[in-house]
Symmetry: C2
Subunit: 208 residues, 2 copies
């Protein structure tokens, strides 16, 4: 049974789910969601996910939303990665949702995808400063470790990396964080890895 992932290239949260499926060899296909055209605010999408967000995974009768819940399902179904049953994996998935991706996704949107005259500089600066603390925590954690939890890639790696391969500037510079940089290179060397704009349909170039 092929899972359908409602997603679009610019969504790092969708990428977490897509990358987990790609690395685990889960059978899936993307379904493009026209976020920038307003699809996630429409009645049809809200009926599928009242949270109004991608990713959404539909697999037979199963409908799952929230990237971490989809990742947990794929890890369990394939047995190819550690999932939320491992407390250390769960801890870093939650930290990512709380401190890293939530803020990185917001600031990247505000600083790149809003019209220039609507970009709120004080909010962007505030979020960038908070994110620097998060990058520092992640870089220190990866000093002396190949992977975030345990000896192999887990859903925590796919979660924390969610926004860190994107080219649009939002204050994250790989070179500033050598242990994060090396870890991102290890992850992108895994069989099945693809860049978000290759793994999912839609990218900023489509709107130019």
């Amino acid at each position: 049974m092929t899972a359908t992932l409602y997603c679009f290239g610019e969504s790092g949260n969708a990428y977490k789910a897509a990358l987990t499926m790609a690395l685990c060899g889960h059978d899936w296909a993307p379904r493009f969601v026209d976020f920038f055209g307003g699809e996630t605010r429409g009645a049809e999408f809200r009926a599928l996910n009242p949270m109004g967000e991608v990713p959404v995974m539909v697999e037979g009768e199963l409908v799952l939303t929230q990237s971490g819940a989809i990742q947990a399902h794929v890890a369990r179904a394939t047995g190819r990665m550690a999932g939320v049953e491992d407390p250390e994996v769960l801890r870093w998935v939650l930290w990512d949702n709380h401190k890293l991706s939530s803020q990185a996704g917001t600031v990247r949107f505000l600083a790149n995808f809003l019209p220039e005259e609507k970009r709120p500089a004080p909010v962007i600066d505030f979020l960038k400063a908070r994110l620097n603390s998060a990058y520092r925590v992640l870089d220190a954690h990866l000093d002396g470790r190949d992977w975030i939890a345990g000896g192999a890639p887990s859903i925590a790696d796919c979660a924390c990396a969610g926004y860190l391969y994107y080219p649009e500037p939002f204050g994250f510079v790989r070179g500033d964080w050598p242990h994060v940089d090396a870890w991102l290179s290890r992850l992108s060397a895994q069989p099945g890895w693809k860049h978000p704009y290759e793994l999912m349909p839609g990218s900023p170039t489509d709107r130019q």
Copy 2:
């Protein structure tokens, strides 16, 4: 074995863990962390939790951080609540971490606990607007439901309620959201429930 929870009254994230332990009858005792005196930035605390945050739970050899990871452990250990094994519970714990508590905790801090002249109005307004969308999602979800997932309180209820009992103004008004209001009343009627300032040591009155 008594679990020690590193916490302080003002932390809604610590409250999620404390409330889960209280409602599940888990054996625990609080250990006050002097957040406002800088304890979480000190070397001793960072050695315990490099993320620099409460809550931290220490139970024998087990050290857990991130409220959701502690909640998951307590649910599993006591068998008294649904935990992250239930995809719908996990989904709402993640949503809370991503969209509700992370922003509510930040805006409540900025709007109440920073010196007045340092409170960044554009950031506060931005976060309040985003939180309104989150309250709307939660209120709609609780229309016709007693609990967030399934027929009894779960760790998702303790997560989403983390910041919603506090008296300090941060833009959340119970009366504006009737289904959230009724659900908070149901939760606070559960045996063992206590207000965060009663369940954990420390409150703003200590600093006046």
